[in-house]
């Protein structure tokens, strides 16, 4: 098969991978913030529920979670198509890791900021939204960037539940054409480029968000 044709088939797969990332990333963010906040501020029984979710998804393997959602849940009457199962599994998995990022970033805001907010008679909502979160958010960006790259890498797992993503197409093309070296080299480069683009995006985001927070010396 000519090289150009291989690349165009692989690019179609890359588009599917991109779609999965675009769907799973918001889900992961919601889970990370939701359960991160529950873990920090919720009353005891709910807090433990959050801990169970976090420990369970961090303690077992992403592929097992994917298989469990895809193969086992249908027996309980929850049938998903492969795409939904993939997005849900990856979103929940990366989200669980994200809760720790949220927790760490909230803890990294100096205590004086909290005390000053209390002293200035801010309400607890104002304290969270106007004082703590804006500062914590900046600290979350670099680790979230790493998690986003982890998510891109983890999307390759959905090829094992028959979603025609980049990895799946590479594998079936390789079985069909036996031009394994070119195919897998192109795939590795595509994933690498994807990760590098994400890394740049998050670096820009960090710069944007840290404006006006008095970080990194003068010239902000």
């Amino acid at each position: 098969m000519p090289f150009g044709e291989i690349v165009s088939i692989l690019l179609e797969g890359a588009w599917v991978t991109l779609k999965i990332v675009a769907l799973a990333l918001p889900l992961a963010a919601v889970m990370a913030f939701g359960f991160g906040m529950l873990r920090l501020y919720a009353p005891k029984p709910i807090k433990y529920l959050a801990v169970i979710y976090i420990e369970f998804f961090r303690g077992t393997s992403a592929l097992i979670q994917l298989y469990w959602i895809y193969f086992v849940l249908p027996f309980f009457g929850f049938s998903f198509d492969a795409m939904t199962a993939g997005v849900v599994a990856l979103g929940l998995n990366i989200g669980a890791y994200g809760t720790e990022v949220v927790r760490g970033a909230m803890a990294s805001v100096p205590k004086g900021q909290y005390e000053a907010a209390v002293a200035l008679n801010f309400s607890s909502t104002q304290r969270l939204w106007r004082i703590l979160l804006p500062q914590a958010l900046v600290n979350m960006i670099p680790p979230f960037g790493n998690l986003a790259i982890e998510l891109v890498k983890a999307t390759s797992l959905v090829s094992l539940i028959t979603i025609a993503d980049l990895t799946y197409r590479a594998k079936s093309l390789a079985d069909m054409t036996l031009q394994v070296t070119e195919i897998f080299a192109v795939v590795l480069v595509l994933y690498f480029l994807f990760a590098q683009v994400l890394a740049v995006v998050f670096r820009v985001l960090e710069k944007k968000l840290s404006r006006g927070l008095g970080r990194g010396g003068l010239g902000q």
Binding site: E55, F56, G59, T60, S61, A62, L63, I64, Q65, Y67, W68, F71, V72, P74, F75, F76, G77, I149, V152, K153, A154, T155, S156, L157, S159, L160, T167, A170, K171, A174, V180, T181, F184, V187, L188, Y191, F192, A195, Q196, A199
Partner: protein, 225 residues
């Protein structure tokens, strides 16, 4: 599909088979982490090389390995290596992939560990006329070891949790065996849940073990003999 209950008898039936496969999983993790430590140390030392080109190349190799999926790397090794006349068993391929992938991650841990050793130690080693090799072996690495333990341990646990991906190249590890059992009996609930629980259990035990190692590790480091 209602009332799909947990079948204890089936669970007990499949447990021995899955535990047998756990040996393969643990073996891959153990060999993989040994290789990862060697590869990681090599990359970390190359990143400290005096030649710009070596530092530059090593940086991008590490970056490339870290930002591409392990699954694709596994496929790459399994399908592409034979093209160059190197055929390996699934286990060996898996160990190599895990070792390279996590070696890239560990190199960053080792690098920051080595960077964390006080500058005065390097100067003292030079003043005592120790060779580069002796400086690393007797002065720097023993002191760098302790701070590296938690991060290294976490990566080894992470590696353990990625071993199911080796099922993609037909290695009969826990998840693959569970999948086969599932498709034979058309009951996925027990085998998959069992494997998940075993992973959770092993991870928690390993995390506790690392915590203990770190606590009991002498602060001044150990001499490498």
């Amino acid at each position: 599909m209602n009332g799909f209950d947990w079948d204890w008898q089936f669970t007990l039936e499949v447990l021995p088979t899955i535990l047998e496969a756990a040996k393969v999983t643990l073996m891959a993790t153990l060999l993989g982490s040994c290789l990862a430590i060697i590869v990681g140390l090599a990359f970390a030392l190359l990143r400290r090389s005096g030649f710009f080109l070596i530092r530059f190349i090593t940086y991008w190799i590490v970056e490339f390995v870290r930002s591409t999926p392990l699954l694709v790397q596994i496929f790459f090794l399994y399908y592409v290596m034979p093209e160059f006349g190197v055929s390996m068993s699934p286990l060996l391929t898996g160990v190599l992939a895990l070792g390279l992938h996590y070696g890239a991650y560990l190199s960053e841990v080792f690098r920051s560990g080595i960077d964390g050793v006080e500058k005065g130690q390097w100067e003292a080693a030079r003043a005592l006329n120790l060779s580069i090799f002796d400086t690393y072996k007797d002065i720097v690495l023993p002191q760098a070891l302790r701070p590296m333990i938690p991060a290294t341990g976490n990566y080894i646990i992470a590696m353990f949790k990625e071993t199911p991906q080796l099922s993609a190249i037909t290695l009969l590890e826990m998840l693959q065996v569970a999948k086969i059992i599932g498709s034979e009996n058309f009951r996925y609930l027990e085998p998959f849940t069992l494997v998940g629980m075993l992973y959770l259990l092993f991870s928690l035990v390993a995390a506790y073990g690392i915590h203990c190692v770190e606590r009991h590790f002498p602060k001044e480091g150990i001499t490498l003999k």
